[in-house]
Amino acid sequence: MMQNLALIILSPLAGFLITGLIGKRLPEKVTGWLGSLAVLVSFVLSISVFNQIAANPAGMHQKLFTFLSVGSLQIDFALQADRLTALMMLVVTGIGFLIHVYSIAYMHGDAGFYKFFAYLNLFVFNMLVLIMGANFLMLFFGWEGVGLCSYLLIGFWYENAEYGKAARKAFVMNRIGDLGLLLGLFLIIFEFGSLDYHTVFEAAARGDHNLGVITAICILLFVGAMGKSAQIPLYTWLPDAMAGPTPVSALIHAATMVTAGIYLVVRCNTLYHFAPVAQELILYVGIATSILAALIGLKQNDIKKVLAYSTVSQLGLMFVALGCGAYTAAMFHLTTHAFFKALLFLGSGSVIHGMGGEQDIRRMGALKASMPLTFWTFLIGTLAIAGFPFMSGFFSKDEILAEVFVHNKVVWALAVGSALLTSIYMLRLFFVTFLGSFRGTDEQKHHLHESPWMMTVPLAILAILSIGGGLLNLPEIVGGGMAHTLKHWLEPVTGKPAGEHAISHGTELALMGVAVAMLLGAWLYTRNKYQSKGVVPEADEAQEGTGRLLSHKFYVDEVYDAAIVQPVNTTGEILYEQADRKGIDRIVNALGNLWVWLGGLYKKVQNGNLEYYLIFMVAGLILIVGFNLFR
């Protein structure tokens, strides 16, 4: 059975080679199904591995060959599967397969159809290497690989200057992250003399290592995670990445790649255990990201951008859980988020497909009638993410909130705020898109149709998962004997938390109540505003006139609107304009331009004149000799 591990990663690799090399000559359907089949094989094998791991908590390990050995350092090309990996494997291959099938219909007729599947397969391969690698170097290979596929797929349709700009941003940000990760790796080699998970964590668990170095390692790894998982300040690339085809957004930028940072931190939980400073940092960065992205999400009108900011916000929430040491909660939310966010993205893809490429929600509306299946699944996704009782998002978010509540009340309040904002922007998106009246062109209306089965079946499956995903880790008050399945499942990896902050059932119920109440409020507000009144978000240029506000001032919800919602919205807008587009983007661009500017400066030094070169050389010589002598 050991060969299974290698087969799991080799199958998508074979898929990549086949579709990439001969896919051009094959009919579209064959290429598409070949690509999907490759992932399906991985999925089936993953299930078998999962079953074995269930019986054997220690996990499996398979060394393929020695990658390199120098001095005392030896790094193997080795795969492993433990309970954390097994969970991720199912998510990646399962959702990956559904998205492959979806893409067969979605990408139908595209000139680069075979390339798309080759890239997708390559992505799955790299993602599997990332999660199944038995050491940090394998993780880094996967890390770089998924990043690469992400660029390739973002730029799939946009091979022009504008894309170049967006890609450059993604590039610089991920570079900063990778720099942190690599430095962390070198520091691990320096401190532990190995990159092997087992060796490193075993050594770290003994607790006799320099805590300063471990903290530095943890922070550097987190910098890597920030880049990949889009946290402040390295998050603005993710909304821009929405330029790629929608299945890509669903697979890479919602369900799998962006969660690599979470996986990394959970994987290194032994190290983080010794680095409370790093954990605090994660907590604060996470909550700040969550709030910021949720605020910005309120004012977005591009259906995919809303979802993108929502992803950033949810990832922030997962980091909040990690910051509290609640690894199970983070993994739980990661899993359910993968279900419902993939569902939402695929749903939006279905909408975009139906609308003939339209992405602006202001030109949609009343899609319920023509796209019933998309409507219902999207509704399920929305409710799941908004935390409708007993759906997956309800349990996972609730668990995070409960953990934060114990850990830090202020952060909890902020997290609750973020959850509320999430409900609002998701419901707004839903109402504006599917209800109200149709605002598109006649041509679009005529063209409007439900998507083919290859797109709707994955939607349906994901919808079922979004509803039932909560079963993975029910809280005690609901699940009784079946509670905390995931927590027990992950215990071999995350260990039994020492000071289990068990909160009383009463408090837990109260927290749930708060969540439900908030959802209800958000539902009423958005329903009133966007469905009943049919308010359509204004175009970006037209600001809400104060005059109109005044004329309706005796309406309670208008007051509410002015007192709370408007400031929140404005904050979102300002954040988007100032922090996102101007602040972080400018800094990142400036960071890139700085080097180019320095390059231009250097060009003047290299002026082609031998005399200058000679005198520079002599000056350098004098400095070197003098410095060395008088040092």
């Binding site: 005399e611 005198i615 000056a619 004098i622 003098g626 002598l629």
Partner: protein, 182 residues
């Protein structure tokens, strides 16, 4: 710096000549005069070699440097008809820059010499610099580098011929490429 009075006068005079000639080489604005001054410098350095009991090198220096290499320089100067031209010297900016650089380098050199020259063991052996003893070592221990210098010469010769010869086939119709008018 040791006192000048303690230094034997032949050394002083020779050094004086060397430095003077060297300075003339670098400051004269006529290449031809530079060459001649350089030959004089080499003669004075050969005299130093004699004083150092390095007779073999003294002779080789005269034959190879002053004889062969400098004649080559003169020949090229004549060939290129640069003997009459006076070369425009660089501006004062360059003069100062070059002088300061050279001065500073001299400074760091002397600083590094300051403490170390007394550590040099003094084991003068009379016969070291003679042709006989040098030749013996050259053709035993130093045989490999000697052969290697043969390759070097061959390579240099081939290279010089390659650059110097005119490509008979396409000499006339080949335009000079890459010229960018200033």
């Amino acid at each position: 710096m040791p006192e000048l009075s303690k230094i034997p006068w032949p050394f002083l005079i020779l050094s004086f000549i060397s430095i003077l000639c060297a300075l003339y080489v670098v400051t004269s604005n006529s290449p031809i005069r530079s060459v001649l001054a350089l030959i004089l410098t080499f003669f004075s350095i050969s005299a130093h070699y004699v004083m150092l009991n390095a007779q073999f090198l003294a002779i080789v220096n005269l034959i190879v440097y002053a004889g062969a290499i400098m004649v080559l320089f003169l020949f090229v100067l004549m060939l290129l008809n640069l003997n009459k031209e006076t070369e425009p010297l660089k501006s004062n900016k360059w003069l100062i820059g070059a002088a300061v650089s050279a001065g500073l380098l001299l400074l760091v050199f002397t600083a590094s010499i300051q403490t170390s020259s007394e550590h040099i063991m003094r084991h003068p052996e009379a016969g070291t610099g003679l042709v006989k003893s040098l030749g013996k070592v050259l053709f035993t221990d130093y045989l490999v580098p000697f052969e290697l210098s043969g390759i070097l010469f061959l390579a240099a010769m081939v290279g010089a011929v390659m650059l110097g010869k005119r490509d008979a086939a396409n000499e006339s119709d080949t335009e000079i490429t890459g010229r960018e008018e200033v």
